[in-house]
Subunit: 195 residues, 2 copies
Amino acid sequence: MNTRLPAGERREQILDVAVQVFARKGYHGASMNDVAEAAGVTKPVLYQHFDSKQDLYLALIEDVGQRMITAIAKATAGATSGKAMTELGFQAYFRWVAQDHDAFLLLFATQANRDAAATLAIKKITSEAASAIAPLIDVEIDHEKQRTLAHGLVGLAEGVSRRLVERGEDFDPDELGRLVANLAWAGLRAIGPDS
Amino acid sequence: MNTRLPAGERREQILDVAVQVFARKGYHGASMNDVAEAAGVTKPVLYQHFDSKQDLYLALIEDVGQRMITAIAKATAGATSGKAMTELGFQAYFRWVAQDHDAFLLLFATQANRDAAATLAIKKITSEAASAIAPLIDVEIDHEKQRTLAHGLVGLAEGVSRRLVERGEDFDPDELGRLVANLAWAGLRAIGPDS
DNA sequence: CATAACGGTTACCCAAGGGTAACCGGCGCC
DNA sequence: GGCGCCGGTTACCCTTGGGTAACCGTTATG
């Protein structure tokens, strides 16, 4: 017998629990009943807080995505050099991954964003991340290539994280961030208009 | 009235058409009816060639994945240096992406949703790719980190490609390969046991 | 102590879609 | 020229699951 919760808290709890459920089963793999059960309530309760399954899912993506973005933004705010910013950024990202595997899976490894809207929502997040990265690529190179490379670096971090999360390994985010930042920074310095 | 095809050819045609359908709509978004219609036949015909939807999907992944792997393997076979191999490899990869957007989307787009078996199948492909890359990271670094970075480079290529494919842009795979290979190679040279 | 508000439940509807049983028609082959 | 093989179709079954209508019990408040 779960306690009755006031609306606000119940909504938060549903969001909390839904991240895990969707991350583990994917969008289509998880039914609203699954989410409801995990939250300790029944289906109609979900619909009191969210208009539809898609609505719930989009709320999750927005929530989790913003959390990631702000974590990185905060970490890099005090950086004095591009290199330091790169390192701090990657470290913050890997810390975010290490802290909440489910959140990472929801955004990057989720087995079902077939929904056009969800795909768009995630694209918006990665695009925002890329926008933050792009200015660090200050070599002489045309703007389009710059943004493309920025998306590549997002993918780099994603690829690294995916392997670690899938293996369920413990890892040191700060050490890993240093390693990857080193790779990224040196790589970026090496490319130029002649590439 | 579509012509009647011998079993072998029909099977090939279904695979061809199914790549496009699944790439565009995702696993759950595409129904067997959609695939059948696109192939110009009806549903039961699909089930004469494949046991289930999942069976068809797995066959596709295997098919497309192997095509990608061998394309890269062939391109890098004659390389004389690590740097040349890196460049040739990335170029072959981007050529593969440019040639067949649908194949790329099937394997890498988040929009192509997967169940557990499909996730595993795809993991196998990326892992194989990473295995090919890992030896190029011949710096003094422990084996686990080496493989993790290899997965990162797979992600790097994936991130770059995703943006280009999503934008429907034309791009020069050879030029792009040179650019990304430069980044990767220089990045890898820069990291060491002290990172 | 009636009653309204609110959190929650039971029981259902209905469309979508994976999968199948039964049937059909033309072509090759003794 | 009947016969069987083979590629194909029509029409259906049945589960899953998103979404909802109607109802219930507790608490608070006058």
